[in-house]
Symmetry: C2
Subunit: 302 residues, 2 copies
Protein backbone atom coordinates (compact mmCIF):
# COMPACT_ATOMS: atom_id res chain seq x y z
CA UNK A 1 0.00 0.00 0.00
CA UNK A 2 2.62 2.51 1.10
CA UNK A 3 5.01 1.31 -1.57
CA UNK A 4 2.22 1.69 -4.14
CA UNK A 5 1.34 5.20 -2.92
CA UNK A 6 4.98 6.24 -3.01
CA UNK A 7 5.24 5.12 -6.61
CA UNK A 8 1.93 6.68 -7.62
CA UNK A 9 2.71 10.10 -6.15
CA UNK A 10 6.32 10.25 -7.26
CA UNK A 11 5.17 9.44 -10.80
CA UNK A 12 2.47 12.07 -10.50
CA UNK A 13 4.88 14.85 -9.61
CA UNK A 14 6.98 13.92 -12.64
CA UNK A 15 3.92 14.18 -14.86
CA UNK A 16 3.08 17.57 -13.34
CA UNK A 17 6.67 18.70 -13.95
CA UNK A 18 6.45 17.68 -17.61
CA UNK A 19 3.11 19.38 -18.18
CA UNK A 20 4.16 22.61 -16.48
CA UNK A 21 7.59 22.91 -18.07
CA UNK A 22 6.14 22.20 -21.52
CA UNK A 23 3.54 24.93 -21.08
CA UNK A 24 5.94 27.47 -19.57
CA UNK A 25 8.53 26.88 -22.28
CA UNK A 26 5.85 27.55 -24.89
CA UNK A 27 4.75 30.66 -23.03
CA UNK A 28 8.32 31.92 -22.80
CA UNK A 29 9.65 30.86 -26.16
CA UNK A 30 12.72 29.30 -24.55
CA UNK A 31 13.27 25.74 -23.37
CA UNK A 32 14.20 24.54 -19.87
CA UNK A 33 17.47 22.75 -19.35
CA UNK A 34 17.61 19.77 -17.04
CA UNK A 35 19.97 18.56 -14.33
CA UNK A 36 19.52 15.18 -12.74
CA UNK A 37 21.06 14.65 -9.32
CA UNK A 38 21.44 11.85 -6.81
CA UNK A 39 21.29 12.18 -3.06
CA UNK A 40 24.08 10.26 -1.30
CA UNK A 41 21.71 9.10 1.49
CA UNK A 42 19.04 7.85 -0.96
CA UNK A 43 17.03 9.14 -3.90
CA UNK A 44 17.56 12.19 -6.06
CA UNK A 45 15.82 14.67 -8.26
CA UNK A 46 15.28 16.38 -11.56
CA UNK A 47 15.90 20.11 -11.74
CA UNK A 48 14.58 22.08 -14.70
CA UNK A 49 15.73 25.63 -15.09
CA UNK A 50 15.16 28.43 -17.56
CA UNK A 51 17.31 31.56 -17.24
CA UNK A 52 17.21 34.79 -19.23
CA UNK A 53 14.09 33.83 -21.10
CA UNK A 54 11.71 36.21 -22.81
CA UNK A 55 9.16 36.16 -20.00
CA UNK A 56 11.11 34.52 -17.20
CA UNK A 57 14.35 35.93 -15.86
CA UNK A 58 14.69 32.74 -13.81
CA UNK A 59 12.28 29.85 -13.58
CA UNK A 60 12.79 26.55 -11.82
CA UNK A 61 10.54 23.51 -11.75
CA UNK A 62 11.96 20.69 -9.63
CA UNK A 63 10.96 17.21 -8.60
CA UNK A 64 12.61 14.94 -6.12
CA UNK A 65 12.20 11.59 -4.44
CA UNK A 66 14.35 11.33 -1.34
CA UNK A 67 14.44 8.82 1.49
CA UNK A 68 16.65 7.46 4.24
CA UNK A 69 17.21 8.50 7.82
CA UNK A 70 16.92 12.03 9.21
CA UNK A 71 19.66 13.25 11.53
CA UNK A 72 18.95 12.90 15.24
CA UNK A 73 19.07 16.68 15.53
CA UNK A 74 16.61 17.40 12.70
CA UNK A 75 14.11 14.53 13.13
CA UNK A 76 12.11 16.10 16.01
CA UNK A 77 11.18 19.02 13.71
CA UNK A 78 8.73 16.78 11.84
CA UNK A 79 5.68 14.85 13.08
CA UNK A 80 5.91 11.09 13.57
CA UNK A 81 8.11 8.81 15.65
CA UNK A 82 11.41 7.52 14.37
CA UNK A 83 13.88 8.94 11.86
CA UNK A 84 13.09 6.97 8.70
CA UNK A 85 11.63 9.22 6.04
CA UNK A 86 10.42 9.33 2.45
CA UNK A 87 9.54 12.51 0.57
CA UNK A 88 8.52 13.26 -2.98
CA UNK A 89 7.28 16.49 -4.48
CA UNK A 90 7.27 19.06 -7.20
CA UNK A 91 8.30 22.61 -6.42
CA UNK A 92 8.40 25.61 -8.69
CA UNK A 93 9.37 29.26 -8.46
CA UNK A 94 8.96 31.59 -11.44
CA UNK A 95 10.64 35.00 -11.48
CA UNK A 96 9.46 37.00 -14.51
CA UNK A 97 11.60 39.75 -15.95
CA UNK A 98 8.79 42.31 -16.11
CA UNK A 99 7.77 43.88 -12.79
CA UNK A 100 4.21 43.83 -14.13
CA UNK A 101 4.14 40.02 -14.09
CA UNK A 102 3.97 38.51 -10.60
CA UNK A 103 6.40 35.97 -9.22
CA UNK A 104 4.75 32.71 -8.26
CA UNK A 105 5.59 29.66 -6.23
CA UNK A 106 3.87 26.30 -5.94
CA UNK A 107 4.75 23.09 -4.21
CA UNK A 108 3.06 19.72 -3.84
CA UNK A 109 4.67 17.14 -1.61
CA UNK A 110 4.08 13.79 0.06
CA UNK A 111 6.04 12.94 3.18
CA UNK A 112 6.36 9.87 5.35
CA UNK A 113 8.25 9.98 8.60
CA UNK A 114 8.32 7.11 11.08
CA UNK A 115 4.71 6.09 11.66
CA UNK A 116 3.17 9.14 9.94
CA UNK A 117 2.39 10.07 6.33
CA UNK A 118 0.91 13.30 5.02
CA UNK A 119 0.35 15.57 2.03
CA UNK A 120 1.33 19.21 1.89
CA UNK A 121 1.60 22.01 -0.60
CA UNK A 122 0.06 25.12 -1.98
CA UNK A 123 0.50 27.97 -4.41
CA UNK A 124 0.97 31.66 -3.84
CA UNK A 125 1.43 34.84 -5.85
CA UNK A 126 3.92 37.66 -5.30
CA UNK A 127 3.10 40.71 -7.42
CA UNK A 128 5.30 43.80 -7.66
CA UNK A 129 2.34 45.90 -8.77
CA UNK A 130 -1.16 45.11 -7.66
CA UNK A 131 -3.76 44.20 -10.28
CA UNK A 132 -6.75 43.18 -8.23
CA UNK A 133 -8.29 41.09 -10.97
CA UNK A 134 -5.12 38.96 -11.06
CA UNK A 135 -5.27 38.33 -7.32
CA UNK A 136 -8.96 37.45 -7.56
CA UNK A 137 -8.37 35.11 -10.51
CA UNK A 138 -5.55 33.29 -8.74
CA UNK A 139 -7.55 32.78 -5.57
CA UNK A 140 -10.71 31.82 -7.45
CA UNK A 141 -8.97 28.95 -9.23
CA UNK A 142 -7.74 27.44 -5.99
CA UNK A 143 -10.98 28.14 -4.12
CA UNK A 144 -12.81 26.15 -6.78
CA UNK A 145 -10.38 23.24 -6.36
CA UNK A 146 -10.78 23.32 -2.57
CA UNK A 147 -14.58 23.69 -2.64
CA UNK A 148 -14.98 20.65 -4.86
CA UNK A 149 -13.43 18.45 -2.16
CA UNK A 150 -14.34 20.19 1.10
CA UNK A 151 -16.12 23.51 1.60
CA UNK A 152 -14.11 24.23 4.74
CA UNK A 153 -10.75 23.96 3.05
CA UNK A 154 -10.39 27.20 1.08
CA UNK A 155 -10.91 29.53 4.07
CA UNK A 156 -8.57 27.36 6.15
CA UNK A 157 -5.86 26.99 3.51
CA UNK A 158 -6.11 30.67 2.51
CA UNK A 159 -5.53 31.78 6.11
CA UNK A 160 -2.74 29.25 6.54
CA UNK A 161 -1.08 30.74 3.45
CA UNK A 162 -1.29 34.29 4.83
CA UNK A 163 0.19 33.07 8.11
CA UNK A 164 2.95 30.99 6.57
CA UNK A 165 4.26 33.63 4.15
CA UNK A 166 4.44 36.32 6.82
CA UNK A 167 7.71 38.25 7.35
CA UNK A 168 7.27 38.95 11.04
CA UNK A 169 10.35 41.20 11.28
CA UNK A 170 8.67 43.49 8.73
CA UNK A 171 5.02 42.99 9.52
CA UNK A 172 4.26 42.22 5.90
CA UNK A 173 3.25 39.26 3.76
CA UNK A 174 5.50 37.96 0.98
CA UNK A 175 2.69 38.35 -1.51
CA UNK A 176 -1.07 38.30 -1.89
CA UNK A 177 -1.31 34.69 -0.73
CA UNK A 178 -3.08 31.70 -2.22
CA UNK A 179 -3.45 28.39 -0.45
CA UNK A 180 -1.16 26.48 1.89
CA UNK A 181 -1.86 23.10 3.48
CA UNK A 182 0.19 20.66 5.50
CA UNK A 183 -0.29 17.35 7.33
CA UNK A 184 -3.29 16.54 5.15
CA UNK A 185 -4.44 12.93 5.43
CA UNK A 186 -3.33 10.97 2.32
CA UNK A 187 -6.73 9.28 1.97
CA UNK A 188 -8.64 9.17 -1.34
CA UNK A 189 -10.09 12.64 -0.88
CA UNK A 190 -6.77 14.15 0.17
CA UNK A 191 -4.94 12.61 -2.77
CA UNK A 192 -7.63 13.66 -5.26
CA UNK A 193 -7.48 17.25 -3.99
CA UNK A 194 -3.69 17.30 -4.05
CA UNK A 195 -3.64 16.14 -7.67
CA UNK A 196 -6.35 18.62 -8.69
CA UNK A 197 -4.49 21.49 -7.05
CA UNK A 198 -1.25 20.59 -8.83
CA UNK A 199 -3.12 20.22 -12.12
CA UNK A 200 -4.69 23.67 -11.65
CA UNK A 201 -1.48 25.61 -11.32
CA UNK A 202 -1.24 26.56 -15.01
CA UNK A 203 -4.83 27.76 -15.05
CA UNK A 204 -4.12 29.98 -12.03
CA UNK A 205 -1.05 31.63 -13.48
CA UNK A 206 -0.91 31.52 -17.30
CA UNK A 207 -3.76 33.99 -17.92
CA UNK A 208 -2.04 36.51 -15.62
CA UNK A 209 1.17 36.27 -17.61
CA UNK A 210 -0.73 36.69 -20.87
CA UNK A 211 -2.51 39.78 -19.52
CA UNK A 212 0.60 41.49 -18.06
CA UNK A 213 3.55 40.49 -20.20
CA UNK A 214 3.20 43.45 -22.55
CA UNK A 215 2.40 46.11 -19.94
CA UNK A 216 4.97 48.89 -20.31
CA UNK A 217 7.41 49.60 -17.51
CA UNK A 218 10.56 51.66 -16.97
CA UNK A 219 13.63 51.89 -14.75
CA UNK A 220 11.67 52.98 -11.67
CA UNK A 221 9.45 49.93 -11.85
CA UNK A 222 12.46 47.69 -12.38
CA UNK A 223 14.20 49.15 -9.30
CA UNK A 224 11.03 48.65 -7.28
CA UNK A 225 10.93 45.03 -8.42
CA UNK A 226 14.57 44.40 -7.47
CA UNK A 227 13.94 45.91 -4.05
CA UNK A 228 10.80 43.88 -3.45
CA UNK A 229 12.74 40.76 -4.44
CA UNK A 230 14.89 41.30 -1.32
CA UNK A 231 11.83 40.39 0.75
CA UNK A 232 11.56 37.14 -1.19
CA UNK A 233 15.17 36.34 -0.30
CA UNK A 234 14.57 37.25 3.34
CA UNK A 235 11.54 35.00 3.55
CA UNK A 236 13.13 32.01 1.88
CA UNK A 237 16.34 32.08 3.91
CA UNK A 238 14.94 33.21 7.27
CA UNK A 239 11.62 31.38 7.44
CA UNK A 240 10.89 28.89 4.68
CA UNK A 241 10.56 25.39 6.13
CA UNK A 242 11.04 23.74 2.74
CA UNK A 243 14.40 25.47 2.27
CA UNK A 244 15.55 24.42 5.74
CA UNK A 245 14.19 20.88 5.23
CA UNK A 246 16.07 20.59 1.94
CA UNK A 247 19.37 21.96 3.21
CA UNK A 248 19.20 19.92 6.42
CA UNK A 249 18.33 16.62 4.74
CA UNK A 250 21.18 16.71 2.27
CA UNK A 251 19.16 17.99 -0.68
CA UNK A 252 21.04 19.53 -3.59
CA UNK A 253 21.89 23.13 -2.68
CA UNK A 254 21.59 24.51 -6.22
CA UNK A 255 18.14 22.97 -6.67
CA UNK A 256 16.91 24.29 -3.34
CA UNK A 257 18.28 27.82 -3.66
CA UNK A 258 17.04 28.09 -7.23
CA UNK A 259 14.04 29.75 -5.59
CA UNK A 260 16.06 32.93 -5.03
CA UNK A 261 15.43 35.78 -7.47
CA UNK A 262 18.12 36.31 -10.12
CA UNK A 263 18.98 39.94 -9.38
CA UNK A 264 18.19 41.68 -6.11
CA UNK A 265 18.69 45.07 -4.48
CA UNK A 266 19.03 45.29 -0.70
CA UNK A 267 18.67 49.05 -0.25
CA UNK A 268 18.49 50.71 3.12
CA UNK A 269 15.17 51.82 4.57
CA UNK A 270 13.00 52.12 1.48
CA UNK A 271 9.49 53.42 1.90
CA UNK A 272 7.35 54.17 -1.17
CA UNK A 273 5.81 57.58 -1.75
CA UNK A 274 2.34 57.83 -0.21
CA UNK A 275 -0.44 57.20 -2.75
CA UNK A 276 1.97 55.64 -5.24
CA UNK A 277 1.29 52.27 -6.87
CA UNK A 278 4.20 50.93 -4.81
CA UNK A 279 2.50 52.11 -1.61
CA UNK A 280 -0.78 50.48 -2.64
CA UNK A 281 0.96 47.13 -2.96
CA UNK A 282 2.57 47.54 0.46
CA UNK A 283 -0.78 48.40 2.02
CA UNK A 284 -2.18 45.07 0.83
CA UNK A 285 0.91 43.16 1.98
CA UNK A 286 0.64 44.68 5.44
CA UNK A 287 -3.10 44.01 5.64
CA UNK A 288 -3.85 40.69 3.93
CA UNK A 289 -7.19 40.78 2.22
CA UNK A 290 -9.99 38.37 1.42
CA UNK A 291 -9.95 38.36 -2.37
CA UNK A 292 -13.21 36.48 -2.81
CA UNK A 293 -16.51 37.09 -0.99
CA UNK A 294 -16.84 34.38 1.68
CA UNK A 295 -20.20 33.31 0.25
CA UNK A 296 -19.18 33.19 -3.42
CA UNK A 297 -19.95 29.71 -4.63
CA UNK A 298 -17.68 27.84 -6.99
CA UNK A 299 -18.99 26.21 -10.14
CA UNK A 300 -18.98 22.48 -9.53
CA UNK A 301 -18.68 21.56 -13.19
CA UNK A 302 -15.05 21.24 -14.09
CA UNK B 1 30.29 47.81 39.02
CA UNK B 2 28.03 46.38 36.37
CA UNK B 3 26.34 49.72 35.88
CA UNK B 4 29.75 51.33 35.51
CA UNK B 5 30.93 48.72 33.01
CA UNK B 6 27.74 49.08 30.98
CA UNK B 7 28.32 52.81 30.75
CA UNK B 8 32.02 52.47 29.98
CA UNK B 9 31.54 49.97 27.16
CA UNK B 10 28.51 51.61 25.61
CA UNK B 11 30.45 54.90 25.53
CA UNK B 12 33.41 53.06 24.04
CA UNK B 13 31.44 51.63 21.13
CA UNK B 14 30.17 55.16 20.38
CA UNK B 15 33.73 56.46 20.31
CA UNK B 16 34.75 53.60 17.97
CA UNK B 17 31.79 54.39 15.73
CA UNK B 18 32.85 58.05 15.52
CA UNK B 19 36.47 57.24 14.77
CA UNK B 20 35.64 54.66 12.12
CA UNK B 21 32.94 56.64 10.32
CA UNK B 22 35.16 59.75 10.26
CA UNK B 23 38.00 57.77 8.71
CA UNK B 24 35.82 55.90 6.22
CA UNK B 25 34.06 59.08 5.11
CA UNK B 26 37.47 60.66 4.43
CA UNK B 27 38.55 57.53 2.55
CA UNK B 28 35.39 57.55 0.48
CA UNK B 29 34.90 61.25 -0.06
CA UNK B 30 31.25 60.99 0.98
CA UNK B 31 29.70 61.42 4.42
CA UNK B 32 27.60 58.93 6.35
CA UNK B 33 24.03 59.79 7.18
CA UNK B 34 22.64 58.91 10.58
CA UNK B 35 19.41 57.41 11.87
CA UNK B 36 18.70 57.21 15.57
CA UNK B 37 16.17 54.64 16.70
CA UNK B 38 14.55 53.56 19.93
CA UNK B 39 13.65 50.03 20.91
CA UNK B 40 10.16 49.72 22.40
CA UNK B 41 11.35 47.23 25.05
CA UNK B 42 14.29 49.39 26.15
CA UNK B 43 17.28 51.13 24.62
CA UNK B 44 18.01 51.99 21.01
CA UNK B 45 20.78 52.66 18.56
CA UNK B 46 22.56 54.87 16.10
CA UNK B 47 22.77 53.68 12.51
CA UNK B 48 25.25 55.32 10.15
CA UNK B 49 24.99 54.50 6.50
CA UNK B 50 26.80 55.51 3.34
CA UNK B 51 25.29 54.44 0.01
CA UNK B 52 26.59 54.94 -3.52
CA UNK B 53 29.89 56.40 -2.37
CA UNK B 54 33.07 56.54 -4.38
CA UNK B 55 34.63 53.54 -2.67
CA UNK B 56 31.68 52.02 -0.85
CA UNK B 57 28.53 50.92 -2.61
CA UNK B 58 26.98 50.38 0.83
CA UNK B 59 28.61 50.82 4.20
CA UNK B 60 26.98 50.64 7.60
CA UNK B 61 28.47 51.31 11.01
CA UNK B 62 25.97 50.79 13.82
CA UNK B 63 25.94 51.01 17.56
CA UNK B 64 23.21 49.99 19.94
CA UNK B 65 22.45 49.70 23.63
CA UNK B 66 19.48 47.42 24.24
CA UNK B 67 18.09 45.88 27.41
CA UNK B 68 14.96 44.38 28.87
CA UNK B 69 13.61 40.87 28.94
CA UNK B 70 14.17 38.16 26.32
CA UNK B 71 11.17 36.14 25.18
CA UNK B 72 10.70 32.80 26.91
CA UNK B 73 11.24 31.11 23.57
CA UNK B 74 14.51 32.88 22.71
CA UNK B 75 16.17 33.12 26.17
CA UNK B 76 17.51 29.52 26.26
CA UNK B 77 19.62 30.28 23.17
CA UNK B 78 22.03 32.35 25.27
CA UNK B 79 24.13 31.37 28.30
CA UNK B 80 23.04 32.45 31.78
CA UNK B 81 19.94 31.88 33.87
CA UNK B 82 16.96 34.22 33.65
CA UNK B 83 15.65 36.39 30.85
CA UNK B 84 16.90 39.87 31.81
CA UNK B 85 19.50 41.09 29.34
CA UNK B 86 21.68 44.04 28.42
CA UNK B 87 23.67 44.32 25.21
CA UNK B 88 25.81 47.01 23.67
CA UNK B 89 28.04 46.86 20.65
CA UNK B 90 29.36 48.30 17.44
CA UNK B 91 28.85 46.41 14.20
CA UNK B 92 30.01 47.32 10.73
CA UNK B 93 29.73 45.87 7.24
CA UNK B 94 31.45 47.57 4.30
CA UNK B 95 30.55 46.61 0.72
CA UNK B 96 32.93 48.32 -1.71
CA UNK B 97 31.89 48.97 -5.29
CA UNK B 98 35.05 47.55 -6.82
CA UNK B 99 35.37 43.76 -6.86
CA UNK B 100 39.08 44.28 -6.22
CA UNK B 101 38.40 45.72 -2.77
CA UNK B 102 37.24 43.14 -0.22
CA UNK B 103 34.07 43.37 1.82
CA UNK B 104 34.70 43.43 5.54
CA UNK B 105 32.72 42.98 8.71
CA UNK B 106 33.59 43.68 12.32
CA UNK B 107 31.62 43.56 15.52
CA UNK B 108 32.46 44.20 19.17
CA UNK B 109 29.77 43.52 21.75
CA UNK B 110 29.20 43.20 25.47
CA UNK B 111 26.27 41.11 26.66
CA UNK B 112 24.75 40.42 30.06
CA UNK B 113 22.06 37.82 30.47
CA UNK B 114 20.71 36.72 33.83
CA UNK B 115 23.72 35.89 35.98
CA UNK B 116 26.26 35.94 33.14
CA UNK B 117 28.22 38.67 31.34
CA UNK B 118 30.63 38.32 28.46
CA UNK B 119 32.47 40.00 25.59
CA UNK B 120 32.29 38.92 22.00
CA UNK B 121 33.29 40.10 18.60
CA UNK B 122 35.77 39.84 15.78
CA UNK B 123 36.64 40.99 12.31
CA UNK B 124 36.75 39.12 9.02
CA UNK B 125 37.54 39.80 5.39
CA UNK B 126 35.58 38.69 2.30
CA UNK B 127 37.56 39.24 -0.90
CA UNK B 128 36.19 38.69 -4.39
CA UNK B 129 39.69 38.27 -5.79
CA UNK B 130 42.49 36.91 -3.71
CA UNK B 131 45.51 39.11 -3.00
CA UNK B 132 47.52 37.08 -0.54
CA UNK B 133 49.34 40.06 0.89
CA UNK B 134 45.97 41.60 1.87
CA UNK B 135 44.91 38.45 3.71
CA UNK B 136 48.26 38.28 5.48
CA UNK B 137 48.11 41.96 6.45
CA UNK B 138 44.58 41.63 7.85
CA UNK B 139 45.45 38.58 9.92
CA UNK B 140 48.75 40.02 11.09
CA UNK B 141 47.08 43.09 12.59
CA UNK B 142 44.69 41.00 14.65
CA UNK B 143 47.34 38.42 15.56
CA UNK B 144 49.41 41.22 17.02
CA UNK B 145 46.46 42.47 19.07
CA UNK B 146 45.75 38.95 20.35
CA UNK B 147 49.40 38.11 21.08
CA UNK B 148 49.82 41.22 23.22
CA UNK B 149 47.15 39.95 25.61
CA UNK B 150 47.41 36.16 25.40
CA UNK B 151 49.59 34.08 23.09
CA UNK B 152 46.92 31.36 22.90
CA UNK B 153 44.22 33.64 21.60
CA UNK B 154 45.10 34.22 17.94
CA UNK B 155 45.17 30.52 16.97
CA UNK B 156 41.94 29.96 18.91
CA UNK B 157 40.11 33.00 17.59
CA UNK B 158 41.35 32.43 14.05
CA UNK B 159 39.98 28.85 14.06
CA UNK B 160 36.75 30.01 15.67
CA UNK B 161 36.37 32.52 12.83
CA UNK B 162 36.88 29.86 10.15
CA UNK B 163 34.30 27.69 11.89
CA UNK B 164 31.75 30.42 12.45
CA UNK B 165 31.73 31.82 8.91
CA UNK B 166 31.32 28.41 7.31
CA UNK B 167 28.50 27.83 4.81
CA UNK B 168 27.97 24.15 5.50
CA UNK B 169 25.46 23.66 2.67
CA UNK B 170 28.22 24.73 0.25
CA UNK B 171 31.32 23.50 2.02
CA UNK B 172 32.94 26.90 1.73
CA UNK B 173 33.90 29.78 4.01
CA UNK B 174 32.34 33.22 3.62
CA UNK B 175 35.78 34.77 3.26
CA UNK B 176 39.40 34.39 4.28
CA UNK B 177 38.58 34.72 7.97
CA UNK B 178 40.08 36.87 10.68
CA UNK B 179 39.25 36.48 14.36
CA UNK B 180 36.06 35.57 16.18
CA UNK B 181 35.60 35.34 19.94
CA UNK B 182 32.60 34.87 22.20
CA UNK B 183 31.88 34.42 25.90
CA UNK B 184 35.16 36.10 26.78
CA UNK B 185 35.45 37.04 30.47
CA UNK B 186 34.92 40.81 30.88
CA UNK B 187 37.87 41.12 33.27
CA UNK B 188 40.60 43.76 32.86
CA UNK B 189 42.50 41.72 30.31
CA UNK B 190 39.38 40.84 28.31
CA UNK B 191 38.23 44.44 28.22
CA UNK B 192 41.67 45.75 27.25
CA UNK B 193 41.87 43.23 24.40
CA UNK B 194 38.33 44.01 23.22
CA UNK B 195 39.12 47.74 23.07
CA UNK B 196 42.44 47.15 21.30
CA UNK B 197 40.79 44.92 18.71
CA UNK B 198 38.09 47.52 18.00
CA UNK B 199 40.73 50.25 17.79
CA UNK B 200 42.74 48.17 15.30
CA UNK B 201 40.01 47.75 12.73
CA UNK B 202 41.04 50.73 10.61
CA UNK B 203 44.66 49.61 10.55
CA UNK B 204 43.55 46.17 9.35
CA UNK B 205 41.43 47.43 6.48
CA UNK B 206 42.37 50.93 5.29
CA UNK B 207 45.70 49.97 3.70
CA UNK B 208 43.93 47.25 1.70
CA UNK B 209 41.44 49.76 0.32
CA UNK B 210 44.25 52.16 -0.57
CA UNK B 211 46.12 49.39 -2.39
CA UNK B 212 43.15 48.03 -4.36
CA UNK B 213 40.80 50.92 -5.01
CA UNK B 214 42.38 51.81 -8.35
CA UNK B 215 42.89 48.27 -9.65
CA UNK B 216 41.14 48.02 -13.02
CA UNK B 217 38.18 45.70 -13.45
CA UNK B 218 35.49 45.02 -16.05
CA UNK B 219 32.02 43.55 -16.40
CA UNK B 220 33.18 39.96 -15.82
CA UNK B 221 34.73 40.88 -12.48
CA UNK B 222 31.60 42.81 -11.50
CA UNK B 223 29.37 39.82 -12.32
CA UNK B 224 31.65 37.56 -10.29
CA UNK B 225 31.37 40.01 -7.38
CA UNK B 226 27.55 40.10 -7.56
CA UNK B 227 27.45 36.31 -7.62
CA UNK B 228 29.82 35.95 -4.67
CA UNK B 229 27.68 38.43 -2.75
CA UNK B 230 24.87 35.85 -2.85
CA UNK B 231 26.97 33.74 -0.46
CA UNK B 232 27.14 36.70 1.90
CA UNK B 233 23.34 36.91 1.87
CA UNK B 234 23.03 33.17 2.40
CA UNK B 235 25.36 33.25 5.38
CA UNK B 236 23.77 36.23 7.07
CA UNK B 237 20.19 35.00 6.74
CA UNK B 238 20.75 31.27 7.22
CA UNK B 239 23.44 31.18 9.89
CA UNK B 240 24.44 34.49 11.45
CA UNK B 241 23.65 34.49 15.16
CA UNK B 242 23.86 38.28 15.39
CA UNK B 243 21.19 38.69 12.71
CA UNK B 244 18.89 36.20 14.43
CA UNK B 245 19.62 37.78 17.86
CA UNK B 246 18.76 41.22 16.52
CA UNK B 247 15.57 40.19 14.72
CA UNK B 248 14.39 38.04 17.65
CA UNK B 249 15.05 40.66 20.33
CA UNK B 250 13.10 43.44 18.62
CA UNK B 251 16.10 45.19 17.10
CA UNK B 252 15.50 47.58 14.21
CA UNK B 253 15.15 45.53 11.02
CA UNK B 254 16.72 48.11 8.71
CA UNK B 255 19.77 48.44 10.95
CA UNK B 256 20.23 44.69 11.21
CA UNK B 257 19.73 43.88 7.53
CA UNK B 258 21.97 46.74 6.48
CA UNK B 259 24.63 44.03 6.40
CA UNK B 260 23.20 42.68 3.14
CA UNK B 261 25.05 43.63 -0.05
CA UNK B 262 23.39 46.34 -2.17
CA UNK B 263 23.09 44.42 -5.44
CA UNK B 264 23.23 40.64 -5.71
CA UNK B 265 22.96 37.96 -8.37
CA UNK B 266 21.59 34.54 -7.43
CA UNK B 267 22.53 32.59 -10.55
CA UNK B 268 22.05 28.87 -10.90
CA UNK B 269 24.95 26.48 -10.47
CA UNK B 270 27.92 28.73 -11.11
CA UNK B 271 31.37 27.15 -11.13
CA UNK B 272 34.39 29.22 -12.19
CA UNK B 273 36.68 28.08 -15.00
CA UNK B 274 39.54 25.94 -13.72
CA UNK B 275 42.76 27.91 -13.19
CA UNK B 276 40.92 31.23 -13.29
CA UNK B 277 41.37 33.88 -10.59
CA UNK B 278 37.78 33.13 -9.55
CA UNK B 279 38.68 29.46 -9.09
CA UNK B 280 41.74 30.38 -7.01
CA UNK B 281 39.54 32.31 -4.61
CA UNK B 282 37.13 29.39 -4.32
CA UNK B 283 39.99 26.99 -3.63
CA UNK B 284 40.99 29.09 -0.60
CA UNK B 285 37.38 29.40 0.61
CA UNK B 286 36.94 25.64 0.43
CA UNK B 287 40.24 25.00 2.18
CA UNK B 288 40.79 27.67 4.82
CA UNK B 289 44.43 28.52 5.16
CA UNK B 290 46.80 29.64 7.88
CA UNK B 291 47.87 33.06 6.64
CA UNK B 292 50.66 33.54 9.13
CA UNK B 293 53.33 31.03 10.13
CA UNK B 294 52.34 29.61 13.55
CA UNK B 295 55.69 30.65 15.01
CA UNK B 296 55.79 34.19 13.61
CA UNK B 297 56.19 36.50 16.57
CA UNK B 298 54.37 39.80 16.82
CA UNK B 299 56.19 43.01 17.63
CA UNK B 300 55.28 43.92 21.17
CA UNK B 301 55.86 47.64 20.74
CA UNK B 302 52.66 49.27 19.70
Amino acid sequence: MTEELRRELSEYVRKVQDTITTALAALDGQAFREDRWERPGGGGGITRILENGHVFEKAGVNTSVVFGELSEEFAPNLPGEGREFFATGVSLVLHPRSPMVPTTHANFRYIEKGDRAWLGGGADLTPYYLFEEDAVHFHRVFKRVCDYHDASWYPRFKSACDEYFWLRHRGEARGIGGIFFDELEPDDRGIAFWKDAADSFLESYEPIVERRRDEPFGDDERVHQLRRRSRYVEFNLLYDRGTVFGLRTGGRTESILMSLPPLVRHDYDIEPHPDSREARLLEVLRNPRDWIPQDESSPIAR
